[in-house]
């Protein structure tokens, strides 16, 4: 009944949300939504470090890379772009030195050209007294941005275009009127008439040339818009099977895309990591792992005991090229009396955030956020730190959950930002494994290079892309149960 009453408004809202997501998606949605910068925290050999890659938004374009050493000092930090499909060994240029940032110890910056669209890694090489080490940070290189021309630039170009237009017409007129006259002779009426005729023809022809140029520009722009990165479209439905709800996701992956990015490959052993977030209150979240449903590009997952309502969907997938992307949709979930078991690693949580700092996550455990009172600022690199406290009040290391110490999800209240984070940052571990094994010539440990799972402090490196109200969920496993804490974060505008 509630569902029926809710339906008309819900449908409108759902369309609005879908429209909002569709609007946002082309601009920002590859491997996360609205959060295009890549953040990695881990180790390069003996050097703990944090790497931030700010993608250019156009391809070919220049990515800015910031490396912060978190431990040992280094004598040299070098950066190298490694495209997925380049010949192994010789396909990458020599590394570029990252320059130390004055006034900040251990901070280095550099920039790298990303020349072709698709999957890249930034190889960070650190040398120093402790030896040398390197790490691969996967980056999705895609065109996501449409640049509007500023008024100033429009004015400059219009003035110059006008100068060239009237200059050309006047030169043609003068050439016709007097270029062949003996020096000193004044053009007679006939020659002046020729000049006028030439002027009329030139006005038209040069205008036609300008028109042709504009059409060429429009064609280039249309092709660019067509090739702008867009995540694969999802069509999501919920059906009820024997009183249990089953989520079905169909996506229209085409052959061209598959050729560019490759087929799907598992990340943390799963082909898809799906997050459902109930709106508008953001009071329920499910982290599911749909599996292929027999048909190509159709995935299914039984729904756990989450309340009915409208949910935002974010599906993280990784392709064989290492290209990771987040597909988005929204769906209305009906009420149900029972739930079917899905993937053993599925987890879900309902309820609003508790008052910090003591966030009870069940079984007597608490997930406490460090620095809960501190101000968070947008566009500023930071580590969101949590401690898992056992029923006796002692800090304990969580048990690995899908190979990681913890998982976190951050979303802005309007849905314009979504990110799936680990202590190793925003990257897909499967992509990292791919690049590391390519570079080392053997199957690499997917979790090499990031902090070990036994680290008792759960630290999530992140940079909020914009100010606003955010909700964060942190998931860690203790006593065999995945425990989820919810937090409200207020992010202030950047002062930079």
């Amino acid at each position: 009944m509630v569902g029926e009453l809710d339906a008309p408004g819900g449908a409108v809202r759902r369309r609005l949300v879908a429209a909002l997501l569709a609007l946002l998606a082309p601009a920002v949605a590859f491997a996360h939504v609205g959060s295009p910068d890549v953040i990695f925290e881990g180790t390069a050999g003996p050097y703990p470090l944090r790497v931030i890659v700010r993608t250019p938004g156009v391809i070919p374009g220049l990515a800015d890379v910031v490396v912060r050493l978190l431990g040992e000092p280094a004598s040299e930090v070098a950066l190298q772009p490694v495209p997925w499909d380049a010949p192994k060994g010789s396909g990458a240029p020599p590394p570029d030195r990252a320059e130390p940032v004055r006034g900040e110890k251990g901070l280095y910056s550099g920039s790298l050209w990303l020349m072709s669209g698709g999957s890249y890694a930034v190889r960070v090489e650190v040398k120093g007294a402790a030896g040398s080490g390197s790490v691969m940070v996967p980056v999705a290189a895609v065109a996501t941005r449409t640049l509007e021309m500023t008024w100033g630039m429009t004015a400059v170009l219009l003035v110059l275009a006008g100068l060239l237009y009237f200059g050309m017409v006047s030169i043609v007129t003068a050439a016709t009127r007097e270029a062949v006259l003996p020096p000193g002779e004044i053009p007679d009426t006939r020659r002046r008439l020729y000049g006028y005729i030439a002027r009329a023809i030139a006005l038209l022809l040069v205008a036609a040339a300008y028109g042709g140029g504009m059409q060429w520009w429009r064609n280039v722009d249309a092709l660019y818009q067509k090739r702008l990165y867009r995540p694969i479209r999802l069509a999501t439905t919920v059906r009820t099977v024997s009183d249990a709800r089953v989520l079905r996701l169909a996506f229209d992956d085409d052959e061209e895309r598959e050729q560019q990015f490759g087929a799907l490959m598992p990340d943390h052993g799963k082909l898809m990591h799906l997050f459902l977030i109930r709106e508008p209150a953001l009071d329920a979240i499910a982290h599911l792992h749909p599996t292929p449903a027999g048909k190509r590009d159709v995935f299914e997952a039984p729904l756990p005991a989450v309340p009915a309502g409208r949910y935002r969907l974010y599906a993280d997938i990784t392709h064989e090229s290492g290209f990771a992307q987040t597909l988005t949709d929204s769906v209305v979930v009906p009420a149900s009396a029972s739930a079917r078991a899905g993937d053993p690693d599925d987890s879900w949580h309902t309820g609003a955030p508790a008052a910090e700092p003591a966030t009870n996550v069940g079984g007597g455990y608490a997930l406490v956020r460090d620095g809960a009172g501190a101000t968070l600022t947008a566009k500023t690199e930071q580590a969101l730190r949590f401690r898992l406290i056992d029923p006796q009040g002692a800090m304990v290391a969580p048990e690995p959950y899908m190979g990681m110490a913890a998982h976190a999800v951050i979303t802005r209240d309007d849905g314009s930002v979504f990110v799936h984070l680990h202590p190793s940052g925003t990257i897909s571990m499967a992509s990292r494994m791919l690049f590391e094994s390519d570079s080392k010539g053997a199957a690499a440990d997917p979790h090499a290079g990031h902090h070990p799972a036994v680290d008792p402090v759960l630290s999530f490196p992140y940079e909020f892309p914009q100010p606003g109200r955010y909700r964060m969920w942190v998931q860690a496993k203790a006593a065999g149960v995945v425990r989820t804490g919810a937090y409200d974060l207020i992010v202030a505008p950047s002062t930079r």
Partner: protein
């Protein structure tokens, strides 16, 4: 005004004595622009990454600055200083100056316009990987205008010169035409690669572009073999670039690198334009007063002679034997995927050369030659 009473001879004697600097300046400006462009393309095929200050860019700026400043100087001098210069000038927006100076100044302005446009273009659509884009077209038009301006300027001195002086200017004019032909073939580099030389469109494109300039130059010049001379200049500069550039080491600084080049990648071996150019001069020396018939003969001579030599040369250029310092065949930039496709003729199934397509190319070349004759007739009379 006193200038209207100045006779042509008087103006000439002053002009040639006071403006000899225009010859080396025109040579440096035109050479600098075309050499800079070829160097820049090689840079992008070898190293990839560049800055505002690469030597190739500096060479292009030098050409633009020389042309812009000398054009402005000639205009200001004719407008404000010398009555004799004012007499041999055309009037634009209240100023007076030689027509060539105006064209060169327009070219420099176009080059200047392309700078912010190109910068914005790279920010909006990414760094371009093709030679032809709208801002590059503006830059290319600017560079061509500078070369045309220098041509017309030299021609105006030739046309009103004494016998000895005019010959120097005629030779300089021939050089400028050669540099312009090289500029055009550089802009068309992707279209005229050996892999495209079995396509009909190749003979249509070259038939449209080159007869126009070679025939116009031949008609306007007072020399006996101007088209041959221009084609020789084109061939010589192009060969020098083909031979000198690979002597310099260079390696890619951008990924992905599909071909790990270790020296500057040379431009393709020059087109054998010299063969039809000899025929153009030969025909123009013999067929006089019948320009329509002459155009048809020029068109046919250009396409068929060019076809015979270029078609077979391209066969050779795709073989490993062409990988030699002299021919510099099968040289590709680092960003080219090394597939067998690189050693094949492209699109021959849908656009291969046929007798019919050569006939169409002949008609296009004849039309190009006819326009060239009209243009040449006009240029012969340009004295300002």
């Amino acid at each position: 005004m006193t200038t209207v009473t100045v006779s042509g001879v008087e103006v000439e004697s002053r002009s040639t004595s006071t403006v000899p600097w225009i010859i080396p300046l025109a040579a440096v400006a035109t050479t600098s622009i075309v050499v800079g462009s070829m160097w820049d393309i090689s840079w992008h095929r070898t190293i990839g990454r560049d800055t505002f200050w690469t030597p190739a860019h500096l060479a292009i700026y030098l050409g633009g600055i020389l042309a812009g400043l000398s054009g402005s100087w000639l205009i200001l001098r004719a407008t404000f200083a010398q009555a004799a210069d004012a007499a041999a000038a055309v009037r634009v927006w209240g100023f007076r100056g030689p027509l060539g100076a105006w064209i060169a100044l327009w070219g420099a302005t176009a080059m200047l316009t392309s700078a912010p446009f190109d910068d914005w273009w790279h920010n909006a659509y990414g760094l371009d990987v093709k030679i032809l884009s709208p801002p590059h077209a503006v830059l290319g038009l600017g560079m061509i205008a500078i070369q045309l301006g220098m041509m017309v300027l030299l021609l105006s001195y030739q046309n009103r010169g004494t016998v000895g002086g005019s010959r120097v200017f005629a030779r300089a004019f021939t050089y400028a035409v050669g540099a312009l032909v090289l500029m055009l073939s550089t802009i068309l580099m992707e279209e005229v690669l050996p892999n495209n030389q079995h396509r009909a469109i190749f003979y249509k494109t070259t038939g449209c572009v080159f007869p126009l300039f070679l025939v116009a130059a031949a008609r306007a010049s007072s020399l006996r073999w101007p088209a041959t001379g221009a084609a020789a200049v084109y061939t010589a500069i192009s060969l020098l670039m083909t031979w000198i550039l690979p002597l310099f080491p260079g390696r890619p600084l951008l990924a992905p690198i599909y071909i790990p080049v270790d020296h500057m990648v040379p431009p393709p071996f020059p087109l054998l334009l010299i063969v039809p150019a000899v025929a153009i001069d030969w025909l123009m020396q013999r067929v006089r007063g019948r320009d329509w018939l002459l155009s048809l003969m020029l068109g046919a001579a250009f396409v068929w002679l060019f076809f015979v030599v270029q078609f077979w040369l391209s066969e050779f250029m795709l073989t490993p034997a062409s990988e030699h310092w002299f021919f510099a065949g099968r040289q590709w930039g680092y960003q080219t995927r090394p597939t067998p496709w690189l050693h094949k003729f492209w699109w021959v199934v849908i656009d291969g050369v046929t007798p019919r397509s050569l006939l169409v190319a002949t008609l296009m070349a004849a039309a190009s030659a006819r326009v060239g004759l009209w243009w040449g007739n006009w240029m012969r009379r340009v004295v300002r």
